[in-house]
Amino acid sequence: MKLAAVDWLFIGWYLALSIAIGLYYSKRAGRSISEYFLSGRSLPWWLLGTSMVATSFSSDTPLAVTGIVVKDGVAGNWLWWNFMLGGALTVLFFAHLWRRAGVMTEVEFIDIRYSGRPARFLRGFKALYLGVPVSCITFGWVTLAMVKIIQAVFGTSGTAALAICLGLTVFYTTLSGLWGVVATDMLLFGVAMAGSIILSVVSVEKAGGIGALVEAVKAAGAGTGKDYLSVIPPLGQALPLAFFVALFVQWWAVYYPGAEPGGGGWSAQRMLAAKDPRHAVKGTLWFTVANYVIRPWPWILTALAAIVVFPGLTGAAPGEMESAYPRMIAFVPKGIAGIIIASLFAAFMSTIESIINLSGSFLLNDFYRPFVRKRASEKHYVAVSRVLVLVVSLLGAGFSYVLGSVKMGWQLVMELSAGIGLVLLLRWYWWRVNAWSEIAALSASAATAIFLKIAPDNALARWLGSALERAGFQVDAWGVGILLIVAVTTGAWIAATFLTKPDDEAKLLAFYRKVRPGGAWGPIARLNGQRYRLQAAPFAGWALAVVMTVSLLFGIGKLIFLDWAGGAAYIAAGAAAAFALSRIIARIDWEGQ
């Protein structure tokens, strides 16, 4: 595909605007590391929530969704929609606690929650682990995905444009810190969504309009025995294990960037940067709605149109299914194609800038400052932060050459930490969890994942697989692996918790007073003289948030497919749940207890 001069004009103009916004904030970001990594803790809910969803919207996300829809239909998206359950949990139970904790990073939480040498080790280890390998793998897979998109659209000639885009992104992110990241994220998310909406309209037209598209997709499904348009997983038949794992295990057990149980990584960074706990809660709720309700339908429509436009796509290799998304760009008229390409650059840039700023925060705040140079000026720490951000960018870019495939990257991250979610949730609500609990969970999860890589066909996996088959599941190796990792990890960290001593009372008491969590804090609550209780309202709020998100997601889908009555019913249910949820959020005292 060859772009016209007007297309390049739009891309160049959009890049210049993004960089100008980023650089505008560089002076403010240079004042202190709190400004550089947390925007001075002054972000309103709409800015932090949009920044979360912009980061989550990567250049490879539309391709992954296209691959899922072409292979398993719309319902296949439950493989990632399940994370909305964890997202809603974070809104009601964790966002305000993060803000109350007042730490600089997710890793610094260890310092205020746990005591002794294990806590110091855990903080240093996690700073390096999350700051270097995890960040570089994520950077690598996002960049690799973008390289593949660019090559699918332009051939190798687009790689120079990508290198320029990457270089400029690293340049303004290094200078402008989180201020520049969240400000540009607003624009990048807008451009990314605009591009995907325009592409979906062009794609549906190419498939003959929405009515013809629905009929053609139904006909394609009749040939393969699949209902491509259904939004409900195939619960009535032998349930694929991957779906069971997604719906009942993955969202609370698996630490996945952007969907960490209880919040973590760049989502925790934005909660910590909120003006106050209420803004953290509202921003995280906005992220959940935008991420699961607003983003998916344009991609799904493009994927369904691709099934019609490219006959034989449903039987193609996974890579070919995914590349149907960039192939649809060929049908976009001159002058508009530049907007679509800019939208892919926007998705890429918004993720990259967040990854490098976050990894810099771990390396500076949780490694350099506590272990290398304890007392230095803010100016010094900001300068070191900028160097660290630059170093991580170079390492990540190098890693994109080493990484074999995009899927290899995210599978690696997901499998290595597949069982640690529960300990991350309970560390807020159970006084007995200590640093050894987390160390045991991390070690057991990684060890089991590596064992399963070396010996995938072991006796334990075979036994679990046949037991699940007898129970009526369609078994797959990935689902069995995740269940094994979660079981071993959970057993290991619970055993470690009871075999080791509790943390210092003084440390636990200080944490309890500062964060004021409810839950199982018996002896510490007695020491405190005042017990903070878990109320019923957040539980009701969680259920309502899930009902609202699912109803609005389904309702928009029904309306798109011209099912007016079904769409109206779902939207009405979503609106009712949203109203009830807003009442609950307004009544809870997020700042106090």
């Binding site: 739009f10 540009t184 607003m186 624009l187 008229p333």
Partner: protein, 48 residues
């Protein structure tokens, strides 16, 4: 930030009018351009 939204919305409007080939495409791009303009205005007001 507001300037950024206006800065994207304006060329979007121009390109939509000049280059879209069908009515559906034109309406979509013009509505998106209007949305960019609106968000830019809201951000501008929030900043004041």
């Amino acid at each position: 930030m507001a300037l950024g939204f206006w800065g994207v919305g304006l060329p979007l409007l121009l390109f939509g009018v000049l280059f879209c080939e069908t009515a559906a495409q034109r309406v979509t791009v013009i509505l998106l351009a209007a949305l960019f303009g609106l968000v830019g205005t809201l951000i501008d007001r929030a900043g004041r």
